[in-house]
Subunit: 256 residues, 6 copies
């Protein structure tokens, strides 16, 4: 059985159920309706929310809005340089998969009727990658989304009393490293993990996405339960961080 | 709380924990080293396993083999025709995502050392789609994979005693339809499901992949537990089907 | 001079002017307006006819319909696996060429005025290739086209008395193998043929397409005449098969 | 029955069995090993033959050479401008089809063993299109091919006595215009033709390719025979032109 | 300091401030509204101007026209064959850059209001390259543009008194070869130049574009001034050639 | 004549010959061999230098290294969101052009022999755009390049005494705004400029690139001279900033 205690420390000294240092810097960009530089330790993702009036063609005239996301990595976000997808002329499977995950996660807390026929695109660009880029992206994008909605409200683009947001969203990774279930894996942990799970939850503790993968040995139900417990704890911690960031003055304040 | 009982029937009369009729036809193709036409009700997927000596460049000289998969849908597999990805010139995110899932699922039961420097590609082409194409693909591809390995063994391409397979794999979908947790959703169910989960398990009941998504309302831990129970039952049933198909004579016999 | 008689048998025992066993299974798919699994021996092509109201932009408002076709091969249709064109991101010349041939052949028996502003797309996907895939595709696609038109008529999408079809179409290959003109070459014959010709004819014996290619030695007029005679015989035989298939009850009956 | 006589003249006054004015200008380019500007009336195609040592990877070490062709049209070769295929990012089916036809036609008179492990690429770029671009391209490319081979011989890249060419090639179009079989259709004729056929023949009157298409009504065997007769006459005339051009001094002389 | 005099001759005997022989052949094509074959020595560019009514979507309803350009090279324009960009499926940076330069240069002398909602596309296809292809293209495209505008005027597509042209444009290259500033570099000079500059000027001697690049050593202000002087001389000479060509009768006359 | 004085202020109060506030933050990334966040006012570009052993295939065995650059913009760097080039599947002309400019500029101060068979790629990603992104990219990339070379030296990948850098590089924009020549245009200025010029210079005041474009009226030699003077002043100022940044301790210090 996998245990949370009594073993050697994680390589960076964290407790098994401890996230890395999380920093959420709002309004990192001047042009975007909402923007956040989110950092999970050395992982650094720039989340920009772009609000535009109108919806894609297939939604026109239905009175509902649309929220979508695009995820990408800068070529030197990683330890060794990767070729640009724009140069290769095609987007890889991983990029597609994560973009879709982020979009679904945010739409889970959006009332598209209340949004009206408006579109919000969340661009999540990984400036530096050290594990957990998709969970950092979701966690940061939620904050940028809140700011973009408030910006639209202040400009009269959505009704003063409309409540497009039905809740908050945060995401964390959990996994089994060196035989122990741990929270928020960094790259050295992630690359040796036997099981890897990304969990997206609402602020009130319900699940939006659960994606668990046996990298090595298949896992049993007990371990799955342990990982889900750990993820619930992690998402709750991240929700607290998001709330603190959103409570701060909006002039670029940073919350560590 | 979501209940398995006491509600109106599913639209096709199945019990909540009942799969559709499953048919596994081996050797549906003459050329492929392994091939299976797998049917989950009206969902029909052709799985072809191609065994080739040698491995991709990045694996050369490491003494290990490679198993990968490609998933695609014929344009008229669905109710209305879709454009071909070859004509559009790019593969969509959903296709990428499912191809990767199938590949990971099969690799979870492969000992790549025992495979030697050989590659097996699983092509899973959906001839007709009625929900659950990815789970049918994984379930059928496993059988084609077994046949391809035995074919290679019979031709002396892998050692007589090598055991590249460390277990079996099957996959099923579960979800919440009309407030009730059900197994193996067909398209009418899938398109109205609130929660949708695909689970890939080994024949001995451990998890390889768990992918749950709240399509509508986020779901709580209780419901997640119910869905996991249902999935375990479904994968066990599918494992039985696979074993029956593999026990039959290999001359194109069909097992309903 | 090339002779039809007095030489050793073809490798599968057929007479020089004999087609392989032809099977035409209608309604192989549940969703498509017309669908046929056509088999010329081991060559197996799934032809799906999709009827949609409206026409491409360049035809709008002219009161005429449109019929087009797309041909493709599954990666493991052939003896060794081919890369997917969707993965390569571009369609090859051969695929383009055959798609265009099928479309032209079917349009030759279509009165687009009688079709009204409707479009029928014929998807011809080769599930298994053993020579003659383009001729099988044309022969099967014609049957699927008939079914799609009748389906549209039964749903009131084309007028009860409209006659969009002006005739029937079938196609066969002929070639010179081992110095002898033969009909309906399978892959072993095709790959050693000196001359290869595909002929598309109407049910009343007129030509729609004649495409002859000297693979080895250029051929003279006498041989060309012999090949045309053989093709006329083959197309007439296939026309008979099509008529029998269309005369059968439409509930998935198979005609061997 | 279609007749060659007794009807009104062709729009440009030609006899039914008369080609347009044919001009073959050798050495139109300074860099290419062989180059020809070929004109069939207003159709103008620049054919450049590039000789390079070595062969594509799949031919290496077999001691045989390779001849291939690429056909393309300048955007304003036609009456209205077409988009560039380079800008669209993909080659159209027609371009593919014609490139393959030209390559096959030339390879039909090449002894690849005698060529040695060398490659000749024929680039046929249509500067102005007025019908018959593919037949002009084949007819001109043959002359450029001869010059490239002689150039290679003079530089010692192929043996002094090697005979890579086993014959000559020319091509012409024939068709039924206004109920009459005519030779070498220009664009106004081609766009109204009921039947259109392209025929590639050797200098000694054998067939390399026969491609006939019923644009309108299907055609019968009698008409097919008439068209083949006309094509044989046309290809013989073009062979004479090629011989005259090749007999002239090689310093850019032009033969009308 | 770099000197214009007292050194050995250029490899082709030209004076430092002398262009190659310039030939401008108007109406080289039959279909295009304006067309020019421009030759700077062995560099040969076909410039076709296509006039169409209407403008791109983003300009609609603004009452202004549009002029744009596309530059490309035939595969065997150069000393060794280059792959086609259409076959590679993407346009290279150099092609993009030069197309944009030509378009900007021509727009600098266009009054888009006077042009009305019409579009002129300049296709500049390099048939043979020997240095200076972009400057030849600009110089020739201007003449084709003049002809296309006059053609449109004669057909009543632009007003009789409209003056869409506000001046003329010509372009030349200058550079430092073997320590000396020279005008209109051919390929042997260009490939060894230390500094390379392309200058686009109006007929009245003002600058539209100045693009100077240190290929080897960075250059100082003195040298830059010398090069600009030389370019002014060259553009003036080319302007004279353009005027002569435009003054000639428009029936395909050639001006050397 | 255009004047530097006596007119109304620039919209942000700068003197005509004054750059925006320039900030150069070294080591902004943890993984890259050299990295700089460079800011010209609100323009913010992340420059990452990746050092790898070996060179592209076409340079192998020549004993020389290679320096190249790729420029890109995040989708929401600009005022309104742009589509990603990776999603569009092709790189635009502007991106290509700027990437090539940055690469050439840096290679102008590199002795590729001294670099040995090593490659340095400079990725310049615009996080926020407010005019002058290419000049900021060049100015910042130079600093990242210096750091990458020193890093390689410290790891013994280049010889201790090798001097791959032959000088320094900086770049600035100049232009005519409201009739006045000004330095370092921000976006509001750039979008209304009549003439726009980008100048790349070495630290000792020589030119690497001069790219001037008349956006509106063509410009005369006097104005060109004024702009060149202004650019020389701007590049000198930027050189001073670069030297200060490089003189600071390398632990992420920021120089304003």
């Amino acid at each position: 059985m996998v245990s949370l205690k009594g073993m050697t420390d994680r390589h960076d000294g964290r407790a098994p159920d401890q996230t890395r240092e999380v920093r959420i810097t709002r309004n990192w960009l001047d042009h975007a309706e909402g923007s956040v530089l989110v950092e999970f330790g050395r992982t650094r993702v720039l989340c920009a929310a772009s609000f535009t009036e109108g919806v894609p063609r297939w939604l026109k005239g239905k009175g509902t809005g649309w929220v979508t996301a695009e995820y990408a990595m800068l070529p030197r976000a990683t330890n060794t340089r990767s070729d640009r997808e724009s140069v290769k002329g095609r987007i890889g499977g991983r990029t597609h998969e994560i973009s879709r995950l982020i979009g679904r996660s945010l739409r889970a807390v959006i009332d598209t009727k209340a949004l009206g026929e408006n579109t919000i695109v969340l661009d999540c660009d990984v400036l530096q990658a050290d594990g957990g880029t998709r969970t950092a992206a979701i966690t940061g994008a939620y904050v940028a989304l809140v700011d973009a909605i408030e910006d639209a409200r202040s400009r009269g683009l959505i009704a003063a009393r409309a409540q497009p947001l039905t809740g908050s969203v945060a995401a964390c990774s959990v996994g089994v490293v060196a035989g122990r279930a741990v929270l928020d894996l960094d790259y050295p942990e992630d690359s040796t993990a036997e099981t890897d799970m990304n969990v997206v939850m609402t602020g009130d503790g319900r699940f939006i996405e659960v994606q668990g993968t046996a990298e090595g040995r298949p896992f049993d139900r007990d371990l799955l339960d342990q990982l889900l417990d750990l993820a619930a704890k992690g998402c709750a911690d991240l929700t607290t961080r998001q709330q603190a960031a959103l409570a701060a003055a909006t002039d670029g304040g940073e919350v560590a």
